[in-house]
Symmetry: C2
Subunit: 607 residues, 2 copies
């Protein structure tokens, strides 16, 4: 093995621009590199870039895995440097802060940017591999990166971060090298491509191999390269990276006119000329054989065909996870991220998940529009990994946010928390359903509970609670808690949320399946003031009048008294254990006639 600090590239790097290579380094591994599907490479080199400084304990390294057409140049190294593909995220003071972290971004195995790939010289023939380059897998790419990390003397990465194909690699890291990463951030990715995405790749590859200039992949010495086929594949790929909405915004207004950009390839329609122009540019920097190699690796990636197989795959993982999807991503649709989350939850791994509402499609993770949402969340996630890893660093716990868009009691002291917490045994594991921004989780953390988790549906609340360092997954309670195991938590809490869900029965039964004990709090519609409002004034009680809500705009959709709830439990064979009755208007506990004198009920339940 030898390693050269700068600029020692062989002739196959012709695609690379000298400027871009200024900061790149190369590590060459001279031993045989065995591939998952049985073939081998006689030697293997990785070209990579780094940012920031590796600390003395070598525990501040963040590995970034690029996507299909990305490269090692994730960000500018200085003001004069050319732009990187993720400058919005990576740099001094940014979400992935190079003042704090040692960031490593390698070019991927099989690509065309210096790391061994089809355009590298095959040492056995002295010619570029071309079509002889073997089939590689995501696992092979990650194994190559692991060699680099070893070479850099890093025993455990603080985190691996990647989106799309980079997300596949991140997942593979978590599964293959569980002891070598503290955290994993996988964005806009999945356990396998959809059959639809796979079909697009099949079409793109056929466009390349049927280009008359493809010459069975041995075109490096030919005057003409298979650029038409590559352009068609790229145009098709490009469509799948954008959402319908984004394309409408970009192209609808002048759809029947070509854009004033130079491309002989396609000159009709705004979207046609734009895609062709981008495809032309792509052809200048990308190699068709790498396109074939990398899309095949993506298409072969399979962490588990069924939910059961996927869950089994996740068994080995030991890191803390953050999964991020984007609502308008139809190439790696959000339900695929949720399948991963479900598998991790089922294996009781620490995991957070947010599906960010975005119009930007699959590319959202690369775009600055969405940075205010996911940037802060990832920053918080990394900061909390750091504090776990290195107890000497300062705590990264954020203060309780002032604004809370979902909780109808948000401006008040949560008197119910005082009582709720009393009902939770010391050290119990707790799942908080409708955890909001993490107020109750915060109290439990301060009380020393270690296994705590939240479920929340409101995006802003999910983002805020993840920033604060909690494991929170974005699930719709009305759809149940399928991935959680029976009796997975000592306590499952549903505080002030029951009255806002449509499918009350499902939520309660799920809660009592997943928790050994359920703790539920809800406003009591039978409270004497409410009775009086209806009986004497003939007005529907305004339970959340203090928050400015009326009958016509309250988030509450279910109205129940304590007696109603007790009857329900009786009917559904739910046992009630502890009962706490509160009159929050008077700030006191109620002992007698709760259905008349309490406006809030807190009960522990089991089934």
């Amino acid at each position: 093995m030898n390693s050269s600090p700068k600029n020692l590239f062989d002739s196959s790097d012709s695609n690379r621009n000298a400027d871009e290579l200024k900061y790149a380094q190369k590590a060459t591994f001279n031993e045989v590199f065995h591939l998952e599907q049985g073939a081998q490479l006689a030697e293997m080199s990785i070209v990579y870039e780094t940012y920031g400084t590796l600390n003395r304990n070598k525990n501040n390294a963040v590995l970034i895995c690029h996507a299909l057409t990305g490269d090692s140049h994730v960000a500018r190294h200085d003001e004069n440097d050319v732009a990187g593909w993720w400058d919005i995220m990576v740099g001094p003071g940014k979400s992935i802060d190079t003042d704090r972290f040692f960031v490593i971004c390698p070019n991927v195995l099989g690509g065309c940017r210096g790391t061994t790939g089809p355009n590298s010289i095959n040492p056995e023939t002295g010619q570029p591999y071309g079509a002889d380059f073997p089939t590689i897998t995501i696992r092979d790419m990650v194994a190559a990166q692991k060699k680099l990390i070893d070479h850099l003397g890093i025993k455990k990465l603080l985190a691996v971060v990647g989106g799309s194909m980079g997300g596949n690699m991140t997942l593979q890291w978590g599964v293959d090298y569980p002891d070598h990463l503290q955290g994993a951030v996988a964005m806009a990715t999945s356990a396998h491509v959809t059959s639809q995405a796979l079909a697009f790749d099949v079409v793109g590859r056929n466009a390349i191999v049927r280009d008359p200039d493809f010459h069975q992949g041995q075109y490096y010495d030919e005057e003409k390269k298979p650029l038409a086929g590559l352009a068609i594949a790229r145009m098709l790929g490009h469509i799948t990276y954008l959402s319908l909405q984004a394309m409408m915004e970009k192209f609808d207004a002048d759809r029947h006119q070509a854009r004033d950009i130079i491309s002989d390839f396609e000159t009709k329609f705004s979207v046609g000329s734009y895609l062709a122009y981008q495809a032309d540019r792509f052809g200048q920097r990308f190699d068709a054989n790498s396109y074939l190699t990398l899309t095949m690796a993506i298409d072969l990636f399979e962490l588990g065909k069924t939910p059961e197989q996927l869950t089994a795959s996740m068994e080995k993982s030991k890191c803390r996870w953050l999964l991020v999807s984007y609502s308008s991503d139809w190439l790696f649709p959000p339900f695929q991220s949720k399948e991963l989350v479900n598998a991790l939850v089922a294996k009781e791994k620490p995991v957070s998940y947010c599906n960010i509402q975005s119009n930007c499609g699959h590319d959202a993770f690369l775009l600055s529009h969405e940075l205010p949402t996911y940037g802060g969340m990832i920053q918080g996630f990394l900061a909390n990994l750091e504090s776990t890893e290195d107890e000497t660093s300062t705590s990264n716990v954020e203060a309780e946010p002032v604004f809370d868009p979902t909780n109808i009691f948000h401006n008040h002291h949560r008197i119910d928390y005082d009582s709720l917490v009393e009902l939770i045994p010391d050290g119990a594991s707790v799942l908080d359903l409708g955890c909001d921004t993490g107020g109750l989780l915060e109290r439990l953390r301060l009380r020393g509970h270690s296994k705590i988790m939240g479920v929340e549906w409101d995006e802003q609340a999910v983002l805020a609670s993840i920033r604060r360092g909690f494991d929170v997954v974005q699930y719709d309670l009305n759809q149940g808690l399928a991935s959680f195991n029976d009796r997975q938590f000592d306590c499952v809490v549903l505080s002030q949320t029951l009255q806002t869900v449509m499918d009350v029965e499902r939520v309660l039964l799920e809660m009592l399946r997943v928790g050994k004990r359920g703790i539920v709090s809800f406003p009591n519609f039978g409270y004497h003031e409410y009775r009086r409002e209806l009986a004497e004034q003939g007005r529907a009680p305004r339970i959340d009048a203090a928050d400015g809500f009326h009958w016509y705009n309250t988030p509450n959709v279910r109205f129940l008294s304590i007696s109603d709830f007790v009857s329900f439990c009786d009917e559904k064979e739910i046992q009630i254990h502890d009962r706490i009755w509160l009159d929050t208007r008077k700030g006191r506990r109620v002992e007698e006639s709760p259905n008349r004198d309490a406006n809030l009920a807190i009960l522990t339940l089991s089934k």
Copy 2:
């Protein structure tokens, strides 16, 4: 002009199979045919098939417009005939009943099935047109069909029916020949393709023209045809016709294995081999130049870039409309059908619309899975056109359906209708919001109201009310009534629906914008029995207990008394005119103390 009854095709019909042509006829028009974009054809022929018998009044003709890759063989002509592409819909006793209707299905201008197209002989050169075939538009296709209809001696079609590109043609018929059709059924279509769909077409066309065997379109005399390019275009198109869900169901289980079907084109992955096999078959029956010509016509189709332009386009239409979309169609997404509906509503044209929940994607309109939904609806729509057209035929009004999944009062006599109808002046135009299966509309029809329309969200209720012959559009009331004009109706009714909508304020204000008068009915939460339930028993009132609902599963999400509603009107400056108070439990009107003694309120309002 000459017309030949059977089988007089020129040599360009080589793609046609003799069996398929057995029932086809040909009409040749020897005069110059002028095209929308300025070019002309020296002559023009149409090959078509017919089913059933044209009646004496020539008013039972239904024209079916096929989609991009369809043809005139819409259905079998007899038991020994080969299958048609819409056998599920067209035939004796079927939804488009050939015992009743004279069905005409022409091959499209620009296609490759006998009607003039790029593979026809250009009379000026004696050679096939090839790339010299001029750019044609959807308008040209429809103009050619109009010539055929004239030739058949039909002054007015009972209906034009088509999906996808056939839907584009149906829309164009409605706009270009308003006096020549009674009804139009446009399925899975739009006023223009999305920029995404357009981009896919651009990619597909490039795959064809860059095939080395394309020879600038003059390949008819060459040994090899541009089949690789056509296959790539077809595979890509095929993906867009299927939903993600349908592809998962079809291909996920054996995704990494090729199917046992013969295609050299692509041999990897179940989806790859399947698409390649279908594309091979397609290449045997379709001409690449026609693919270019027809997709370009689709891409150029533009009924209106903006909602305003689209609305203006619809001004001329005089027919009755039925628009159908499918929830998982991402090539012609449902919102595009809704844009058409909005434009028709804005021009106060008679229109019905249903977005059918389906997993089948764009192709849903061709598949038998979905027939039980759309088949009956189209049958009902045609039957009602027929009865309007020919007063001697029997009425096609369906009886009130017994089952009603949405209305909480479905098993009861709608006592409120008696009172509601009293508040509607004779002959007034009426819009019924939440019209359910059309119960109130039926009463109004019997009373002789001619301009009546419904809005409903539940699919089954929409289907049922359209079958009964009402104009009903599927809108979500919570999203407003944007396309309706201010004061478009004398009365807008919201009966027993207010308590089920989240955005009460929006719905009421929209109702009072669109109607000169609003008529609203709702259950009164202040009713003495409900007060007693809360005050004395401490139980939340069970307003819909008779229907078996409880606090935890009622469809009601809003609870209000008459006093609450009156205060609301006061606050929002809504005037209350007539007031009817009912005690439905006692089956009588209430005159005094309505907020205590009535359980149902009916009010007329204005703003």
